[in-house]
């Protein structure tokens, strides 16, 4: 081996070891356990496809949690991207305050994933929480239980997620700045309105960024855990039970570890499928030409 390839292998060694020890071996193990009846304590017993069969035919809570997770992602991701793009367009305008404004809108996404924000959120929307007290301040005492009601509890989590649109906003701002001003100048000469400038120039040139954001946010949407685990624990009546939280409960609270492993593989397959579908739509709406 040449000096160069020896060096290459040595420098890559941490990743090679890490890949095998912390990713490939655990993946292999979980694939095997997903075909087993296994509860951490006793030896795994091979049961074939039983876990997978039970997921789709004998477990209503699983199907409920799947539906809730889809609903959460389908509502929160588009809203988040909409706000990210709208605010990015507004804050593109250069004023003396722009830096400060951007920081303000972006701060929530820096700390939004923390436990601190989750417990704060729980107090904001409690029946004796801040929101209700603010509404009560307008007149009648108001004690609606946002978190206790099956129709509103999920929205508390959606609002928390949409609130963190800041990092997508920054990505949009970065690509908005790269659109050459000459395009807008030419459009102005041709008498194009602001609206048609947005539809014909800005939006098409942003579609690659939008696509990247859409894929990443959708994956993250499916994997949300902390907010749900701390704020609602899936309550009331499983109406906010996220897939990951149900998987955690099955694996570590009920010790259905083999079953949990099967859930993990179904999730991976779903994410792969959704990503693949999104890539399939790419050629219809994502601009891939040069400038």
């Amino acid at each position: 081996m040449s000096k160069e390839s020896t060096a290459g292998v040595i420098f890559s060694l941490p990743f090679i070891i890490g890949l095998i020890a912390f990713i490939l071996v655990p993946m292999g193990m979980s694939l095997y356990y997903s075909f087993c009846d296994y509860n951490i304590i006793s030896e795994p017993v091979f049961v074939g496809l039983d876990n997978y069969k039970k997921l789709f035919t004998g477990d209503e809570i699983f199907l409920t949690s799947l539906g809730i997770t889809f609903r959460f992602a389908l509502i929160s991701v588009p809203l988040r991207l909409f706000f990210a793009l709208a605010v990015a367009m507004i804050l593109l305008k250069k004023t003396r305050m722009t830096g400060f404004y951007r920081a303000t809108y972006y701060l929530p996404s820096i700390i939004g994933g923390s436990v601190a924000v989750s417990i704060l959120w729980k107090r904001l929307f409690a029946s004796d929480g801040v929101l209700n007290l603010l509404i009560s301040g307008l007149g009648e005492p108001f004690t609606y239980s946002w978190l206790g009601n099956t129709s509103t509890a999920i929205w508390v989590l959606i609002i928390l997620s949409v609130w963190q649109f800041g990092s997508s906003m920054l990505i949009f701002l970065a690509s908005l700045k790269q659109i050459p001003t000459s395009l807008y100048e030419a459009a102005k000469v041709d008498g194009a309105s602001r609206a048609s400038q947005f539809c014909k120039i800005t939006f098409p040139l942003l579609t690659p960024t939008l696509f990247f954001n859409l894929v990443m946010q959708t994956i993250n949407g499916f994997l949300a855990f902390t907010q749900c685990y701390i704020i609602t624990q899936g309550k009331p009546m499983n109406s906010t039970l996220f897939y990951t939280v149900y998987m955690y409960q099955q694996s570590f609270e009920y010790y259905h570890t083999g079953y949990g492993a099967a859930m993990a593989w179904v999730m991976l397959a779903l994410i792969a499928m959704i990503t693949w579908l999104l890539f399939g739509t790419k050629k219809f709406w994502v601009y891939d030409g040069g400038l």
Partner: protein
């Protein structure tokens, strides 16, 4: 007249942006303000943002922690875990990135693809088998699961970030050093490492914030309360049966976001850089 026509839209713009900006940060401001109010008045005066009397009693009460374990211990734990894991991930990722970017060797393409795929792989898929695996290694109940893996460059995002950064450095630097008889280790340590400091800082602050906020691994692997990091300790305030001292809870929650806020204030340039060039999640 002309001046009015110009300043009026600008004023409306600023008022609207300020109003919505205030709505955005209102929850946080409310939490910080409430942490200085006497705990029994927090909800009776919820609509009043500024405390009538400022007091630090909540911080004193909160700092006492739970069952004779001061919150200082939890902060120390979080600081330890986040710092060591960050050092590990930054160093190992930077080494691997150098190998990927500057050395040609068999299997490099395959490893690069494996790295890209690992970026898409959700940690939750590995949660169960990793737990069993760490159980076999007798790591449960120690900090090992939250530290050791990071020394093996398992966060593909950071490798990717650094490979891109190193690719932007002129290759002539390496060539010149090679002619002068410098080894690959020398090129890495003397040329590449110092030049990639901005990328190392970007990766470092993201890693630190993620490790600091990490809740799921602490929930899985730490079982003695004296070893709890802040994220897990804060959750104790929410548990049913805990004496709901909301003042103390908001005080400690406020302290727990200080590291991220400090990073946000002083290292914002690197945060923005990381998010807008590599799509790192903020």
């Amino acid at each position: 007249m002309n001046k009015v026509r110009k300043t009026l839209p600008a004023a409306i713009y600023h008022i609207v942006v300020c109003f919505f900006g205030f709505v955005m940060i209102f929850p946080l401001v409310w939490m910080i303000m409430s942490s200085f109010k006497p705990t029994n008045t927090i909800f009776t005066t919820a609509s009043q943002l500024i405390p009538e009397t400022w007091e630090l009693q909540n911080y004193v009460n909160g700092w006492k922690g739970f069952a004779d374990i001061s919150f200082g211990v939890f902060f120390g734990n979080s600081l330890f875990i986040a710092t060591v894991a960050t050092l590990g991930t930054v160093l190992s990722s930077s080494m691997v990135a150098f190998g990927f970017a500057r050395c040609r060797f068999r299997g490099r393409g395959l490893l690069f693809v494996a790295m890209l795929l690992s970026m898409m792989l959700p940690a939750q898929v590995l949660m169960i088998p990793q737990y069993l695996w760490y159980q076999k290694l007798s790591w449960i109940g120690t900090y090992m699961p939250m530290i050791a893996p990071y020394f093996f460059a398992i966060q593909g995002f950071f490798i990717y970030l650094m490979v891109n950064f190193i690719n932007g450095l002129p290759k002539e630097l390496d060539e010149a050093a090679k002619i002068d008889g410098c080894s690959y280790a020398g090129i890495y340590a003397k040329i590449i490492l110092p030049l990639t400091v901005p990328a190392l800082i970007t990766a470092g602050i993201f890693s630190f914030m993620w490790r600091w906020d990490d809740f799921l691994s602490a929930l899985l692997y730490v079982n003695k309360s004296v070893m709890y990091p802040v994220s897990l300790a804060l959750k104790l305030f929410c548990d049913p049966g805990s004496t709901s001292d909301f003042g103390a809870m908001f005080a400690m929650a406020t302290l727990s976001i200080i590291p991220s806020v400090l990073i946000f204030i002083f290292l914002q340039r690197y945060l923005v850089e990381g998010i807008s060039t590599s799509g790192l999640k903020g």
